[in-house]
């Protein structure tokens, strides 16, 4: 299919028009009215679109209609463009715009991908060209919610995507292309304790009450740590649980009778703290409530930046492993600028850009060709082995795993 004509047709569909009679009031109220397209021909839209004078609340991409330069709307999570320390958003926008005759607009709805899933489910237009920051579970959730109606289009041939490391590719249907990854590990205060080298070590009496983790239902670090324990100990077949009954994950512990719920029972017996969010946990850990916390393996980057004692910010990869959390990007099926979106994707995979994203997003590049300073690894730690569940493993299992865990831990 010819991308350019598709784009043009889609674009004409997505015009916002304020009701001209109530333009003033509606503008004040933030009201907008959009002609609902029901497979109708584009002509009706064109005739409406001539009423430009009353457009009080149109989106920016419409405004750019006047000049020839297209606008690329990139949806992402807030911290990608607006973190208090560093974030890659501004640099990416500036660099891309300096090369391509286009304007990059960031969209950062609070509930991330769910916002676009909701839009699609409600029949509202998507209003963005690509999403940057997709996780494996986002994709699983999107596919489950929208059944056969894909929110994202296949990536197709993206320049530079062959350089993406194999272990990070998480979309079997080739829509999401990874652009960076993080690793969830233990962070500990070396002046207080030495973190154990194995999962079993966390059950030692020495480490009673020493670990703060997060709720997998509301925190991605918490979810990653839970998944890591499932990867290690297996899901035990979940008899009578909500996981479907079959053991889908055997674990690497060589004990078929001991699963992640057994391990968590032992962790609970050893007084693990499970708080709500990463912020809750990190605040408590920073104040010395416990010497170990589940966090990111880039912790020392931030600590060094703030001039803190690195001895207090030690990283431990339990069993020499860390749970990888690759982030991907994908073009919306409903994108107005799919070609430009794909250009942006390949831009993000360029070696120099990969290095900048890693530094500014404080993460690790997704490609093998990224240009990074030699000393990057001195503060941002990478595990010997990274583990992560792929799309097929999470699909249909994740919810049961979390539900079973919740029912065990919050047994009031």
């Amino acid at each position: 299919m010819d991308d350019a004509t598709t784009a043009a047709r889609r674009h004409s569909r997505r015009r916002f028009l304020a009701l001209s009679g109530a333009a003033g009031l509606a503008g004040l109220a933030g009201c907008s009215a959009e002609r609902v397209d029901e497979g109708a021909d584009g002509e009706a839209d064109e005739s409406n679109a001539t009423d430009d004078a009353s457009e009080t609340n149109e989106t920016d991409e419409d405004a750019s209609d006047a000049d020839a330069s297209p606008t690329l709307t990139v949806a992402t999570y807030g911290a990608f463009v607006d973190a208090p320390s560093v974030s890659p958003g501004a640099w990416l926008k500036e660099t891309f715009e300096s090369r391509v005759d286009a304007t990059v607009e960031w969209a950062t709805p609070d509930n991330g991908v769910n916002y676009y899933l909701e839009r699609a489910a409600s029949g509202a237009s998507i209003d963005a060209d690509l999403y940057v920051g997709l996780t494996t579970e986002d994709l699983v959730r999107a596919d489950a919610e929208l059944d056969d109606d894909d929110l994202f289009a296949e990536a197709g041939a993206i320049d530079g995507s062959d350089a993406v490391r194999d272990g990070l590719r998480f979309d079997p249907r080739g829509r999401a292309v990874p652009f960076d990854t993080g690793y969830v590990s233990l962070v500990y205060d070396g002046t207080e304790t030495t973190a154990p080298e194995t999962f079993e070590g966390l059950l030692d009496e020495d480490h009673r009450g020493a670990l703060i983790a997060q709720n997998p239902g509301s925190s991605s670090t918490g979810r990653s740590f839970l998944l890591h324990t499932i990867h290690r100990f297996g899901d035990g077949g979940d008899e009578g649980g909500y996981g479907g009954g079959d053991e889908t994950v055997e674990g690497t512990d060589d004990d078929p009778d001991y699963d992640y719920l057994d391990y968590w029972a032992d962790l609970q017996a050893n007084d693990v703290r499970v708080l709500g969010s990463w912020e809750d946990a990190y605040t408590a850990w920073s104040n010395g409530e416990a010497p170990m916390v589940v966090s990111y393996s880039t912790d020392q980057v931030f600590a060094a930046d703030a001039g803190e004692d690195l001895e207090r910010h030690q990283i431990r990869f339990v069993n020499d492993e860390a749970y990888a959390t690759p982030e991907g990007m994908a073009v919306f099926a409903d994108a107005d600028e799919p070609a430009l979106a794909r250009e942006f994707m390949s831009f993000l995979l360029e070696p120099a850009v990969q290095g900048e994203i890693a530094k500014r997003n404080v993460a690790f590049p997704a490609t093998t060709t990224a240009a990074l300073p030699d000393d990057y690894a001195s503060l941002a730690k990478e595990p010997t082995t990274s583990v992560t569940f792929g799309y097929d493993e999470l699909q249909g299992s994740l919810d049961g795993w979390i539900t079973d865990w919740e029912r065990q831990v919050a047994g009031n």
Binding site: L19, A29, G30, C31, S32, A33, E34, R35, V36, N57, G78, V81, D82, P84, S85, G89, A90, A107, T108, P109, D110, N111, N114, Y115, L117, E118, R119, S122, A124, R141, E145, N215, G217, S218, Q268, R273, V274, L275, G276, S277, E279, D280, Y282, T283, A284, S286, N287, G288, E289, F302, A303, E308, D309, V362, D399, R407, V409, A410, G411, N412
Partner: protein, 595 residues
């Protein structure tokens, strides 16, 4: 004034209450009942078909309802009662949530009432300022409270430092039910104090004097005359505290941990994972319980309203008495003890938060976090959140939403106090914005307003400033109802009747006779409406998407990074701006109006 204009004015006045009622209903439907309905309906409509299966599963699930689930699996009430009384009973998530809410309410009332007593009955320098800023904790985002609490009650916190300095025992308060209860009291005891203070200031001094002149002792006069006029306020705030702490989230997970998870934690998780049927069913169970409590309270209020014609407030005592009688001494000793508790529970966490905004991780003083705010303001890109627009929007929205919430609240208060039949039910439904899960409200606003509704081939969407103001007004107006209605209910109905007989319209009677008599309640309601708006996050972040209409709580959330310094600095800005707003409201509202 000419006859024409007087007639016009009369006509406007006569229709005023009807028009206001219609407008109130319209606002409620558009920004609350309809959006919330789009989410809650998913509990019973699954894949386009009406079903009660999701509900049935939920009610039969002991994980949620504990032993009470047996009621829905066919066991008799007696067997269930026996199971509940058994020592190894399971409360279930819903049962535990109610349990901690009851405890939180008790603690909040216990900590709030002494404050009301001091604020309403004593005179001391700074009293009005103190009364104004009482409800400051109300606006604080939970992450700020968590920062303050860990720094105060934590293992290495201020409390332990003080205790060890005076040779006392160390206390380990964090991550326990106690920590949650104290945090809930931190948020809600000020509510109890503020609402009760307003009622206490409305007590008529002459009634007390009459009782005393007839030979009643101070205690008897208090119990017979003053206390009955305070019960509605105390119970109002207790009922509200129950409802707020019943819907609590995320503070329970920040200070307690997942073992103490409440219903809302699961509503959040289910909604986040798009399991809307289960999330909606759980939110409905939550709503029914919360509304049930409000309804029961309103029934009580309707049955026990006492009439009064307030003429002048009670004289205040001096905090430093003229004569140190044993009674005065005992009273002051009690106040000092209470002040000590209040300092630990309310003042210390806020002070710790302020301190956190000027310290680095290794404890040295810094202004870096405030410098960050300045830099972000000066160099932040257009797509980034900057401090000044957040402050400006917060103040504008708070002012505007209070202007909307006040008439809405007064109208609903009038309807629910004067209508004879079904007033408790109307009253409870009007309180729904307090009782509905915040997660459901956010999702509903997204679907109902931001994405829009299809009407005759057009998709009408509402977002941005006006929608935020309306949403804040809806979130805050029940406070106006609750601070005004008890006062209105206790007014002698003959006051209004005489005015009406003399030719005043209903609106004129309300403005000239009733509202002046319950003025402290109106001012308190305005303060709460502003507080709700200043602290509101869920609706704001949804409705501000894609616009520059973000507020201070949104900025705080955005400034949370791997280091919390910048967010705490913004939190302090929020505290200061809100505190100043409260002072302005109380100054504008004036002291109790006497004439």
């Amino acid at each position: 004034m000419s006859d024409t204009s007087r007639r016009l004015r009369d006509r406007v006045e006569r229709r005023a209450l009807t028009a206001l009622t219609a407008a109130t209903v319209a606002v409620l439907v558009v920004v609350f009942y309809y959006p919330v309905g789009t989410v809650l309906v998913e509990a019973v409509v699954v894949d386009g078909r009406l079903t009660l299966a999701v509900f049935a599963d939920l009610l039969r699930d002991p994980f949620y309802l504990g032993e009470f689930a047996r009621l829905f699996t066919g066991e008799g009430p007696v067997a269930v009662a026996r199971a509940v009384a058994a020592p190894d009973r399971r409360l279930g998530i819903v049962g535990f949530t109610a349990y901690q809410a009851v405890l939180s309410t008790i603690v909040s009332v216990a900590l709030g009432l002494p404050a009301a007593y001091v604020l309403a009955r004593f005179e001391f320098p700074g009293r009005r300022t103190l009364r104004s800023v009482t409800i400051l904790p109300f606006v604080l985002p939970s992450i700020m409270v968590a920062v303050g609490f860990v720094a105060t009650f934590g293992r290495n916190g201020t409390l332990n430092a003080v205790l060890s300095a005076i040779g006392g025992p160390r206390v380990d308060l964090m991550f326990s039910l106690e920590a949650i209860l104290i945090a809930h009291a931190f948020y809600n005891a000020p509510l109890v104090a503020r609402v009760t203070t307003a009622a206490w200031e409305s007590v008529d001094a002459s009634a007390v004097e009459t009782a005393r002149s007839l030979g009643a002792g101070p205690l008897r006069a208090f119990l017979d005359v003053v206390a009955p006029q305070l019960y509605p306020a105390v119970l109002t705030s207790a009922a509200l505290t129950f409802v707020f702490t019943f819907g609590t989230f995320p503070i329970v997970l920040a200070l307690g941990g997942f073992e103490l998870a409440t219903v809302e934690v699961f509503v959040y998780r289910l909604a986040r994972d798009l399991q809307y049927a289960e999330a909606a069913a759980l939110a409905l169970v939550e709503l029914v319980i919360a509304l049930g409590v409000l309804f029961a309270y309103l029934r009580y209020e309707a049955a026990t309203a006492v009439s009064s014609r307030r003429a002048r407030p009670l004289p205040r005592k001096l905090l430093w008495p003229d004569a140190w009688t044993p009674r005065a001494l005992a009273e002051r000793a009690g106040i000092v003890t209470y002040a000590g508790f209040a300092a630990v529970v309310f003042f210390a966490p806020i002070a710790s938060m302020v301190l956190a905004s000027v310290t680095t991780a290794d404890g040295s003083l810094t202004l870096d976090h405030y410098r960050f705010l300045l830099t972000r303001q000066q160099t932040g890109a257009a797509f980034q959140v900057r401090p000044w627009p957040a402050v400006r929007n917060s103040v504008l929205f708070a002012g505007a939403s209070a202007m909307v919430a006040l008439p809405m609240g007064v109208v609903v208060a009038v309807i629910t106090t004067r209508a004879s039949r079904g007033r408790s039910l109307v009253g409870a439904v009007a309180m729904a914005p307090f009782a509905v899960s915040g997660i459901v409200v956010g999702l509903g606003l997204l679907r109902g307003l931001v994405f829009g509704v299809e009407v005759a081939g057009w998709r009408i969407a509402v977002a941005g400033s006006a929608a935020i103001v309306a949403a804040h007004a809806v979130a805050g107006y029940p406070f106006v109802v609750r601070t005004v209605a008890p006062g209105l209910a206790s007014l002698d109905a003959s006051l209004v009747e005489s005015a009406r007989a003399l030719g005043a319209s209903r609106a004129r009677a309300l403005f000239d006779i009733e509202l002046p008599l319950v003025w402290p309640g109106v001012v308190a309601g305005a303060a709460f409406a502003v507080a709700i708006s200043m602290g509101e996050f869920t609706a704001t972040v949804v409705l501000a998407t894609g616009t520059d209409a973000y507020t201070m709580p949104v900025a705080i959330e955005r400034f949370i990074g791997r280091r919390l310094g910048p967010a705490t600095a913004m939190g302090v800005v929020l505290l200061i701006v809100t505190g100043v707003s409260f002072l302005v409201i109380e100054r504008l509202g004036g002291e109790v109006r006497d004439y």
